[in-house]
Symmetry: C2
DNA sequence: CCGCATCCGTTTCGATACTG
DNA sequence: CAGTATCGAAACGGATGCGG
């Protein structure tokens, strides 16, 4: 009596609802983590394997195939001198940036002890991004270098949205390019301090006193930085 | 030879990443749709069953239990005169609003023929919300009634965030309360027209000419409404 | 009727092995 | 390096049942 299940039965919510439709595309296990790892630029199959331990290769294969089929990801063939094919987000795929960012901001609220349990290097930019609230960006343009124990990340705020960047005016680079123009601001701190600051559990003054924060450079840029990361105002 | 898998292995990503952690909490199948249906207020178990056809009761049970365990949902016992228990988002659970909203905005971009395949009534507010871009809200406060073929939805923009509302300054009510103060603006249209307008595939003038849009009331409120829903400017 | 718990066939996942 | 093939273990989906 089993209805023949025409093999077309890929599990779908099939509701006339935008949320349900979005989850039909990216709601499966691992899919949004794959998108996360494509968010900062093209990567190879193997890069994804190492950045997503626990994801079996057949599943990664399946997820990528499905993302490609839905037009969110494309396979790009590189010129022969080097590694063959990379996966990259399409413009439509980049529209998932707000989804990933919203998840990151939600998840970061319960992130305890980021210093004791630091993310692998390739997640550094994402961790920083999760602490920012881009809607609080002022009109100014500025740049900064954030020096964390694991390395330095560059941060630049442009005047307008960069078309090729999923993140709008914000641009993160890891590692910070050595030949970049000098940044307006240098911040030396730890992820844990940034988390505590953004939650208002720590004031900049207290962080400095505890040697968890040191800054140098433009005062104005620091002001913007503090706003972007939600630091408590000195009042 | 099966490794004993200490039974503690509930599938978790276990990555030191805010996105992965968020998905550990709400990444399972159905979970975010349950949250979506709690977003506009408390509902009963049975309400969820009817608003989520295809979700088996044991799974709904499981999802709710898990959400409660994580502090995102709470079970509220109602006074005896009526239906017993309802499920409601906790303040922490309401912080998922940006996630659901981001998914809705992503999903709505591929929503074709909303008039031919209209969402069930309880999703009307969500469908409207998916078409808005709250970051484009001006400072003004105003209210409107949107009359769709399936019913009228009230929309009110407050001066400040309402603490008990996940949506910030935006407040949607369905059905539009008959005893509410008169709205600044009346909009009679269809979901399909709103979608086309927000995608810039239709101008307000063309929509009026085709009898897909009729408005009355405050010009200023209409201006705000058009901005909020991303209508193309007459220019 | 409401709020689930139980049972069971089907689908998906996860680990490992293997191939161009 | 970039995947495919295989197979046991979970998770899911549907039906049914049962106490309050």
């Amino acid at each position: 009596m089993t209805p023949p299940t025409t093999a077309a039965t890929r599990r779908t919510y099939g509701q006339a609802c935008p949320v349900a439709h979005a989850l039909d595309l990216v709601g499966e296990r691992w899919t949004l983590l794959v998108v996360r790892d494509l968010m900062f630029g093209p990567v190879r199959f193997t890069d994804l394997r190492t950045s997503l331990p626990g994801l079996a290769p057949n599943l990664l294969s399946d997820r990528l195939r499905r993302l490609v089929a839905h037009g969110l990801v494309e396979q790009v063939e590189l010129p022969p001198p080097a590694a063959r094919t990379v996966y990259a987000l399409t413009p439509r795929g980049r529209e998932l940036a707000p989804v990933v960012h919203a998840l990151a901001r939600f998840g970061v609220a319960e992130w305890d002890d980021p210093d004791g349990d630091p993310p692998p290097r390739h997640l550094l930019r994402g961790a920083l991004l999760a602490l920012t609230a881009p809607e609080r960006l002022g009109a100014a343009t500025w740049s900064a270098v954030v020096e964390l124990p694991d390395g330095a990340v560059g941060l630049a705020v442009g005047a307008r949205e960069a078309a090729d960047d999923p993140l709008g005016r914000l641009r993160l680079s890891d590692p910070h390019p050595a030949d970049a123009p000098p940044a307006d601001l240098h911040v030396r701190t730890t992820l844990g301090a940034l988390v505590d600051l953004s939650r208002g559990r720590l004031t900049p003054a207290a962080a400095r006193a505890a040697d968890r924060l040191a800054t140098s450079g433009s005062e104005r840029a620091l002001d913007q930085f503090a706003r972007l990361f939600g630091w408590p105002r000195p009042a």
